[in-house]
């Protein structure tokens, strides 16, 4: 069966998103591109199993994610378990005036266990619904919700920001500390 032009076009169009998700998972640009390459080859080979009209992006993200975890297992790297990680182990300096540096954010994201990181990326950045994210990760919707919630709490903890930037206790304490210096 020949791969249709539409499928190929959609595949090309999905590459930027696939690369972004791959970098989020691997935390390495080189590894990410290798992962995307594997994903495209796999997707091409099993294009017949994709049902036209359904969500191609979700289908591709599922392939990429499976590939990532199977590579990790092959390398003998233990998949991080979110319960085994200490909170705020490598806390970065508190954000100043509620302004968060992107570099700090990236390093905070790196500290999250994989399952939490992928969940918060899928929901908070890639634009997937909880149902779609659950399907991509092969778990229950409730599991995704709890991972996203734990990821958010941990990021807020590491970055010392509150859920509500303007009115949170951190914003107030920053102001107080700032005025005592002046």
């Amino acid at each position: 069966m020949t791969v249709s032009l539409a499928f190929k076009t959609d595949l090309l169009g999905a590459i930027p998103s696939l690369r972004a998700f791959a970098v989020s998972l691997t935390q390495s640009a080189d590894k990410a591109d290798d992962l995307v390459q594997e994903t495209l080859v796999k997707a091409w080979d099993k294009h017949e199993s994709f049902q036209m009209g359904t969500n191609l992006k979700a289908w591709l993200f599922t392939i990429l994610r499976n590939e990532f975890y199977s590579q990790m297992r092959k390398r003998g790297r233990e998949v991080q378990d979110s319960d085994g990680i200490m909170t705020g182990r490598l806390a970065v300096h508190p954000a100043q005036q509620g302004q968060l540096d992107l570099k700090d954010f990236r390093s905070a994201l790196e500290q999250l266990p994989e399952d939490q990181r992928e969940a918060i990326i899928l929901i908070g950045a890639s634009g997937f619904s909880y149902e779609e994210a659950a399907e991509i990760c092969g778990c229950a919707v409730g599991t995704i919700k709890s991972r996203v919630s734990r990821a958010r709490v941990r990021l807020q903890d590491i970055l010392k920001v509150s859920g509500e930037a303007e009115y949170g206790p951190d914003a107030i304490s920053t102001q107080v500390m700032g005025s005592s210096v002046a």
């Binding site: 190929k8 972004a20 080859v41 709490v153 509500e164």
Partner: protein, 65 residues
């Protein structure tokens, strides 16, 4: 330790004005999108277009044979 976690969870549970805890009014939500959008807008290397062309070529050879 347990109590600290509880407090954090309570604080983080507060949604922003739009009701979405990762929405545009949340610092984490904004940074998350900024981080991701930067990755998405990164220029795609040629290797991927080349790869798809190769796969296509391999297909057409196979179909002829």
């Amino acid at each position: 330790m347990r109590d600290m976690n509880k407090n954090n969870t309570a604080g983080a549970g507060k949604a922003d004005a739009s009701g979405d805890p990762l929405g545009p009014n949340s610092e984490i939500g904004r940074k998350l999108k900024q981080y991701y959008d930067e990755l998405v807008s990164d220029e795609v290397p040629d290797r991927f277009a080349q790869l798809l062309a190769q796969l296509e070529q391999a297909d057409s050879v196979q179909n002829k044979g």
